[in-house]
């Protein structure tokens, strides 16, 4: 992939009355992606609200107290938190243009993220195999959907990470790849943020 030949016209009309001088692609992309994350917050809020309304509708099936394991939840929490940090350190390496370090940190983030998904899938399959699948009750439907949607987002992140690692390997750090790494890191941090509320509202409040 060729790097961008930046069509650079020096702005001699730097006008102090410009409402927002940051019309460059980087700040526009960051703002736009942030807005998408805000819409995702509302999406998760809807799922949380649904969980809150339906979490006691167990219909004779198991309740949260019966099926949640805090040890699994705490491991998942730690894994995701570590991966959030490794991701941030990856972008930091990009700032310092250390290509090998970038690959290392993101590979680590990937491994952690994949472990998170694996543990979650294990938790889900265990529930399904013992007969407590999502069609057992409204409670289970809302649990699987809320936690599963988060897990799906993480999975999308994993695929995205692979694409990013490939782009960095092939093109190095360019204006475009740096921008995309930052955007990815926003996404990944956001997922850790949502997880705070999942482990608190679903798992912790679920066992008390």
């Amino acid at each position: 992939m060729e790097t961008l030949a930046v069509h650079h016209t020096h702005d001699s009309h730097a006008d102090t009355r410009v409402p927002d001088p940051h019309q460059d692609t980087f700040s526009k992309t960051i703002l736009g992606f942030w807005m998408y994350l805000m819409t995702d917050c509302i999406l998760f809020a809807t799922l949380f609200a649904t969980y809150a309304v339906l979490h006691n509708s167990t219909f004779g099936g198991p309740s949260s107290r019966d099926i949640f394991s805090l040890s699994i939840a705490s491991i998942e929490t730690m894994i995701l938190l570590f991966s959030s940090v490794t991701c941030g350190l990856g972008v930091l390496s990009a700032v310092h243009s250390k290509k090998n370090q970038i690959i290392l940190w993101f590979a680590l983030t990937f491994v952690l993220g994949a472990s998170f998904v694996a543990i979650e899938l294990h938790e889900f399959s265990h529930l399904v195999l013992e007969g407590n699948s999502w069609n057992r009750s409204a409670f289970l439907s809302s649990f699987f959907t809320l936690v599963g949607t988060h897990g799906l987002h993480v999975t999308v992140g994993l695929f995205w990470m692979i694409v990013m690692i490939v782009q960095v390997l092939l093109s190095g750090i360019t204006v475009a790849t740096f921008r995309r790494l930052v955007v990815f890191s926003m996404f990944w941090h956001f997922l850790d943020l949502v997880w705070i509320f999942i482990f608190t509202i679903v798992y912790l409040m679920g066992v008390i």
Binding site: L4, D15, T46, L54, F59, Q167
Partner: protein, 656 residues
Amino acid sequence: MFGRLTLEAFKHEPSQNFAVVMMVLTGIGIMGAITYSKKWKWLWDEWFTSVDPKKIGLMYIIVALLMFFKGFSDALMMRLQQALSVGDAHGFIAPGHFQEIFSAHGTTMIFFVGMGVVFGLMNLVIPLQIGARDVAYPFLNALGFWLFAAASVLSLFSLAIGKFSATGWLAYPPLSGIEYSPDEGVDYWIWIVQIAGIGSTLSGINFIVTILKMRCPGMTFMKMPIFVWSGLCAMVLVIFAFPILTATLVLLSLDRYLGMHFFTAGFGGNPMMYINLIWAWGHPEVYILILPAFGIFSEVVPTFSEKRLFGYASMVWALIVITFLSFVVWLHHFFTMGASSGVNAFFGIMTMLIAIPTGVKLFNWLFTKFRGRVHFTSPMLWFFAFVLNFSIGGMTGILLSAPPVDYQAHNSLFLIAHFHGMVIGGMLFGFFCGFTYWFPKFTGFFLSERLNIYAFWCWFTGFLLAFMPLYMLGFMGATRRLDHYEASTGWQPLFIIVGIGALIILCGVGVQIYGLFMSIKDRKKNLDVTGNPWNGRTLEWSTPSPPPIYNFAITPIVDDLDPLWAIKEGHAPPQNKNYEDIHLPKNTPMGLYIGILSLIFGFAMTWYMTWLALASFVAIVICLIIRLSGEDEHEMITAKQVKEMEAAHLSKQGAR
């Protein structure tokens, strides 16, 4: 291989066959005409792969108008049925088909006509009004359009292949759940709305960032045209409300596809939660439809009153207050679901409050006209019709906002009359106003004003005849969505009047179509040479008609609310005089491809064609990765070329 799709899907009620045949023939006719005139390459290069908001805006409006025919046909069928189907007579539409018709009518009108004209006009007008050359995310904008178009095509498929949903435009469970609606209808509805909704959300993000970041020098927030403000507020509603819809549709899908129990009648499900969530989206949605219409009036009224808008600041605050309030009123759509009086009263009061900023706007428009020099052009006629019809509809809304009254009138024809006053009297009349106002700017020629006026009077008369009796019918006990009733009710005469009203509207639509074709035929005789035929105030009127691809050869600098009148009055700031190289984004077919793949995906999911759903989904992902891996590519128009293009425009003007 074909999931649950069988040849049965191609068999329809007799009353449906006609519609299917007409639609297929129309489609073949259009494609034939394009082939005959050898325009496919032109369409591909200039339109299908375009990322120019002016083109995208026109495409939105074209799709919206085509979908209007579908939605209006539904309305005509319903009113004809209701005029005839009394006592022993049962009209010509079977009950099952009738249910599909009213479901399709609402879905089409809201998602494709309403959202289509809103996004269409915003694409056309907003970049120009803020002095920008483009939107913030040209590709995302195009993608939003193609998802919209894909959803509309899917809804056309639902007419011809299989059945559409019979559960209304909002598909309440448990009726819309898998147990009571196992067939493909609700699934069609889900994917149509889901795909369109995602398109809307992406476009919403695009326009907000465009308005926040791409205004020309000097255009502070309080110097933006009100149409831009109304677009900003509407898009804020879009990005915060549509995710609720997305999530709720996912939950309904999970119930239907994976046997989950969010909204089922048993297993702990709670159908009332669906109604709560869908209206938490649904109420902001109706404000998304109306705010841009308010914005249009704020542009047209001052221009045709030769007077600045009265109370600009209060207009802005009214928009902001309406935006906020529209998030806290949603329960008024289900007062009768049985909440306690405290809950109902709270939402009733919040609903009544919205009347205040709305009234402020109405009075400001009227004050703008006071002591102005009013031109009774067809856009102004639409405004006056709006004042009458929207006010009546709005006042009945205040009536309905009192829970005890709503208990009597909920889901009666009184309600139908109220909200059609809002969407037709408000949104549609606003669109017609804006359409006739901006038409010369974007096409370069004029619509026949005479035919515009005839069409207006048909619509105005027809609307009153078709909807005022509904208030009476509602009080007489007529509920909505009736395909048959007893003669002893005494309703038939009123239903006949309503049917006549619908036919008069049909005449209006006919005049509009005829007018459009005649105007296109005579366009060379009715060119807009000045670019500013109405002595407009805002920046779009400073460009040629139609504007060049780059909008402005030199980015304007403004210092005033009405920049063009400031120039006339001699106090505009000095403008840059040097042409610069202009960078524009390259055309791309990716939006179209992803749209087509989404259409296939929606169809496959509806018919349980798992392999096809998976394949199209993977293809969409691949397209996205390709698109988002490329380097930022632009086309460049050199300063010299810009200068030549501008000189050509000026000489054409001079030659007249």
